[in-house]
Chain length 193, copies 4
Amino acid sequence: MGKPQTRRKDTRQRILDVALELFLERGYDQTSLREIAERLEVTKAALYYHFRTKEDIVDALVGGIGERLDELIAWARAQPTTLETRRELLRRLNEALEEYSPVFQFLQENQAALRGRAGPKTARDRMQALGTLLTDPQSPVLDRVRSLSALFTVYFGTFATSAMEGTPEEKRAALLQVAWEQIDAAHAAHSGK
Amino acid sequence: MGKPQTRRKDTRQRILDVALELFLERGYDQTSLREIAERLEVTKAALYYHFRTKEDIVDALVGGIGERLDELIAWARAQPTTLETRRELLRRLNEALEEYSPVFQFLQENQAALRGRAGPKTARDRMQALGTLLTDPQSPVLDRVRSLSALFTVYFGTFATSAMEGTPEEKRAALLQVAWEQIDAAHAAHSGK
Amino acid sequence: MGKPQTRRKDTRQRILDVALELFLERGYDQTSLREIAERLEVTKAALYYHFRTKEDIVDALVGGIGERLDELIAWARAQPTTLETRRELLRRLNEALEEYSPVFQFLQENQAALRGRAGPKTARDRMQALGTLLTDPQSPVLDRVRSLSALFTVYFGTFATSAMEGTPEEKRAALLQVAWEQIDAAHAAHSGK
Amino acid sequence: MGKPQTRRKDTRQRILDVALELFLERGYDQTSLREIAERLEVTKAALYYHFRTKEDIVDALVGGIGERLDELIAWARAQPTTLETRRELLRRLNEALEEYSPVFQFLQENQAALRGRAGPKTARDRMQALGTLLTDPQSPVLDRVRSLSALFTVYFGTFATSAMEGTPEEKRAALLQVAWEQIDAAHAAHSGK
DNA sequence: CATGAATGAGCCTTCATTCAT
DNA sequence: CATGAATGAAGGCTCATTCAT
């Protein structure tokens, strides 16, 4: 009754939350399981009851996002490669990025630390897949760069605008509009020929 | 007495080369001084003759780039804030990025690992300074995003296009043109008012 | 009410079987309770329902054999110290060894790991007791070695001949005959004087 | 001047000595590197300067003995398979065993703990090779057991007689004589046919 | 210039064990 | 009977760093 000895059911989720928190604060390699355990006020061994290794924590953290993007890619592949599809793809990508924002930031900032693991390898593949879906393969370099630029705008802009003034909706709309202008331009030049 | 004995092409530089190589291959935190020493076929202690700490190696690696960018920022600040200045700023930024390409990649991929160190803190500051120099502070969100997008295009495009087909010159030109279009648009909307 | 429900052939015995199996495969110290539980498809905690500690499992495993040998020793002590008694002692020892063969092998291969535990201390005592029963204390070194050799022949031969060709009966008979020849020789020299 | 800070040259050998000492006292698995380091009054990390892993310590410990036995086996193979050769083989084996007595005891008592390592696999092979060299392959089971028994006598007797009264020379002579009688018997029966 | 030897801190991981349910 | 969750202790190992030579 004195101590909060509640056998919490959601320890697993709490571990993930705190881990992400610390990974963002101090970086993956510099975050030890001891620190995670301490902030949770459990022992290191408790973490190992829920996750077999430190990497497993990362996997659980980034797992959802992978599926989310794969769905997105699958959806885009099933659509006709029209300008409209591409606009919608960027919109959905922005949506996904905002939903998983902290995890994306974690992946972004810890690329090197996670190299060799399962996650990031496919992360790069996914970025590439998205790039391909936004570009016509036979289009000139200039248009391919425009498409790439649109992707960057949505991808990095989602994080970079967080410090910018303005309402989230306003910024989001601006991001999408700019990205759209870029694929519009890529498309126009190419199909107008 | 004039020149150093150049026994093996300057050990200090060889250390930096190998360190960067390994930092890019395996990440900063996952690269131990032992590995660097082994690849160089010297002892760990030898590294300590040339650098006081592991961080000192990073500092030496990213030192030049910092000055380079600071010069760039200083130059831009000394210019009138015209469209032409901004175009030239992007051009020079692209030049700097290509010159220091591997170091930039290292900084990019190891953000989290280097957090808290001297380098990256100012790195973020510099990115921000560049962003500010490309935007008019009182311009609407949409234009600020356009400028940001121009910066991303040059910044990330320099790395991302390395796998793309086309000659380096061609890709470089395309990158700059796309970035220019974006600040042009930002500028036009704003000044046309 | 009479018989236990024998739900799955007596869990306690299954634990012992699997434990012995694993102790032989991987060694006592290298076998964790987790492994035992996993192979049994129960939880670790279930083991603790049946055995208070890991050592208790060992004790249950080697318990029977201890009593068996103690009986053997008690029997031999109650007999006159004749050649015939010694022959019969070796025969019964061989019988016991074959009956408990895997447990003996376990004890044999894990002597060091079990040191300090209850079992093996007395195991050594028993070996010594057997040695004493096969030798006349005042006999010359040579004859004492002969008796020791007879003991080794039965003791280690039981395991060592398992890979040898021939029927078990044949090998067993050979083992005993050789051991007998040795105590015969020890006896003859001594009593013939 | 106060503390014995002498940078001792022979730390590597001291590690091996203390390791063997502790492995014999408490068993391989139950001896931690911390304990070895403490008894040596150095840090654990110092051990790792001299040996890459705990297993490497074992390898260094049992390395010499392997070569010793391989030489012995090679020598025996180069001789004619006469009774005289076999006698001499047993004599030399006894010599080797006494020379490396503690290491043999360590291998003997920690068989299970060392399973899967390099050492013991070949240890078993060597025992078998010695067994083969002492027996004629086509001889009857009884004679093969006699040869095996001779091997046991020398092999285990070397350790088992350490507690027995009598001078070392006396015991050694007795051991060899008993072993010889056994191969003599094996040989006589076989060649007398 | 450079090395061999060593340290102190810390890391990830595993283990035997406990206990409320 | 049995489990899910957790603990405390310890283990093997690696790392950045130091220093006498």
